[in-house]
């Protein structure tokens, strides 16, 4: 049997489904054999997958570079902490998601009239503003600087994160294939033309911006217990705005799976490098990033596609040579 027939598009779909099932089974059973360290590692990786995929959901097709990820993540952390003190964990997570949805709707209505670099700067300003606002509230109104987070078991946090991650991936997948996805792509292609073709650009942008914020907020709310103590500088850390962008670029935004593998590999490598080379890890990491951006403009997903194409071409070439031999 020819191995190449295993890789027809239809079979590839079956493989992808089987692979996803394996990953899900692995995740579902991880607490049975993995120690609490591994649970934490995988939870962090899933968190980055959620942040990266939800960032790509909006910023990928529209080309609007949002740096508000950390803002929604931070708001999620605070809402989760406050709600979770009195109510169950799942309610806290839902509240984080809904709260960020509403916040993103309001912010979106104001900011999405801005284009290009101005939008990026505004969303970054939002992060700074929210961080300072909460600091002000803590000092002057709530009367306590920072707060302790209610405890939750690592397993519970892990399982909720798995559910959020699956929900994020499903939403991103279906939006990409829906009318909304087509509308966002057209906005990224040429916003003026999209409007003249009947796309309500403001509504599409605000809606998808808000949908993407749901997952950022939910991820923040569920990560709160593992932080133990939070204050505005911990919750609103700008690395959560920049990491998803880097991870999406690293993985490649052209394919659906790009940001997923980007986030997973990136966050794992980062952790390993930091443990192995605590003094040189940033240096190594910087070099890897520069190499990827210089030589892999399509990211890892682009590289995979190139390799697939190269294999097809070399196969055709070999066949051509065989035929030549047959002719002579």
């Amino acid at each position: 049997m020819n191995i190449a027939t295993l890789f027809t598009p239809r079979n590839r779909k079956v493989f992808a489904a089987a692979f996803l099932l394996l990953v899900l089974i692995f995740l579902a059973t991880l607490p049975l054999y993995g120690g609490s360290y591994y649970i934490l590692v995988v939870t962090t990786i899933l968190m980055y997958v959620v942040l990266t995929v939800s960032w790509t959901m909006f910023s990928g097709p529209t080309g609007y570079m949002s740096l508000a990820t950390a803002a929604f993540f931070g708001v999620g952390i605070y809402i989760g902490t406050i709600v979770g003190e009195k109510l169950p964990l799942l309610v806290a997570v839902a509240a984080g998601g809904v709260g960020c949805f509403i916040l993103a709707l309001l912010v979106g209505l104001v900011t999405l009239r801005l284009r290009g670099i101005y939008f990026a700067i505004f969303t970054f300003g939002l992060l700074m503003f929210l961080s300072e606002l909460i600091l002000y509230l803590e000092i002057n109104i709530w009367g306590s600087r920072g707060r302790h987070v209610f405890p939750a078991s690592d397993e519970a946090v892990f399982y909720v994160m798995v559910v959020i991650c699956v929900a994020t991936l499903l939403t991103a997948y279906f939006i990409r294939r829906s009318r909304l996805g087509l509308a966002m792509q057209s906005i990224g292609g040429n916003e003026e033309a999209a409007a003249h073709m009947g796309v309500n650009t403001t509504r599409v942008k605000v809606l998808t911006f808000a949908i993407s914020a749901v997952f950022m907020g939910a991820a923040g709310a569920i990560m709160a217990p593992s932080l133990i103590y939070i204050d505005p500088f911990i919750a609103f850390n700008m690395r959560y705005s920049f990491m998803p962008v880097l991870m999406a670029v690293f993985g490649g935004m052209g394919q659906f799976y790009g940001p997923v593998i980007g986030a997973a590999i990136f966050s794992y490598t980062e952790r390993m490098l930091r443990l192995e080379y605590p003094y040189h890890y940033m240096l190594t990491f910087g070099i890897i990033l520069i190499l990827v951006i210089l030589f892999l403009p399509g990211g890892l997903a682009g590289l995979i596609q190139k390799l697939q194409k190269a294999r097809v071409i070399s196969k055709l070439w070999n066949r051509g040579k065989e035929e030549q031999h047959a002719n002579t």
């Binding site: 009318r179 087509l182 509308a183 792509q185 057209s186 990224g188 292609g189 040429n190 003026e192 033309a193 999209a194 409007a195 003249h196 073709m197 009947g198 796309v199 309500n200 650009t201």
Partner: protein, 245 residues
């Protein structure tokens, strides 16, 4: 009965009147040409009709309904589609998806995905791009990209089509093909309002011509009337020998 009607249409950019006190109308079954020197306000007038720019004063009516204050996407849904002088295709998307955007969003009622795909296929066949539907739009030649824009506009099922310099940058053979395309669109029952510099095309297919100069309406009439109008020859056509070529 005029389907599109402009009354005292004015657009000021600061102190400059780009379009000033222009009355115009387009009737059913017509191909109307809009000509004039560079900077006369032709594209501005199109931008006012399609709501890319808000009016400074005056009023535009389509099928008796006032268009003032509508957004571009709402204008499209009322049945006015347009193309652009500088092509504004969705460069990274395949040709099919470019046109699918128009088919999916351009109509007043929601279209099912299968209907949208069918309308897209028809529009691409109509403009002769069916073979290229899978190519990225940016890989097409200029003339094909302009056809993508026409197909995209047609997919929104317009009653009125605004064509902004469809023939600019095309060679004579391509101009003839484009003229044939415009006539076929008219034969489908779509009214056409077109800005054009290629006089051969204007004189060949338009039933009526309007001339703008410095934002004001200079003249209006049939091709013969415009070609023999002294002021028009003076400011735009530049000598009787060229007129009507």
């Amino acid at each position: 009965m005029p389907i599109l009607e402009g009354l005292d249409v004015t657009k000021n950019f600061g102190g400059l009147a780009a379009v000033s006190h222009v009355d115009f109308h387009v009737d059913r079954g017509e191909i109307v040409g809009l000509i004039g020197p560079n900077g006369a306000g032709k594209t501005t007038l199109f931008n006012l009709i399609s709501a890319a720019l808000p009016l400074s004063s005056g009023e535009i009516r389509f099928k008796g309904q006032k268009l003032n204050g509508l957004k571009p996407h709402q204008i499209c849904k009322t049945g006015i589609a347009r193309t652009f002088q500088q092509t504004k295709i969705f460069a990274d998307m395949p040709v099919f998806q470019n046109v699918l955007v128009g088919a999916s969003f351009g109509t007043p009622t929601r279209v099912s995905p299968s209907d949208a795909a069918r309308v897209t296929t028809e529009a691409l066949e109509f403009v002769g791009l069916a073979a290229m539907s899978a190519s990225a739009a940016k890989d097409l030649t200029l003339v094909s990209q302009k056809r993508v824009e026409v197909a995209r506009a047609l997919a929104t099922k317009p009653e009125l089509l605004l064509l902004d310099e469809l023939m600019a940058g095309l060679n004579p053979a391509e101009v003839s093909e484009a003229m044939e395309l415009v006539t076929r669109i008219r034969d489908k029952g779509i009214i056409i309002f077109m800005v054009e510099h290629v006089m051969k095309a204007i004189m060949g297919i338009c039933g009526r011509i309007m001339v703008l100069h410095h934002g004001e309406k200079l003249a209006e009439g049939t091709c013969q009337e415009i070609a023999s109008n002294k002021t028009v020859i003076e400011v735009y056509l530049g000598g009787e020998t060229h007129a009507g070529n």
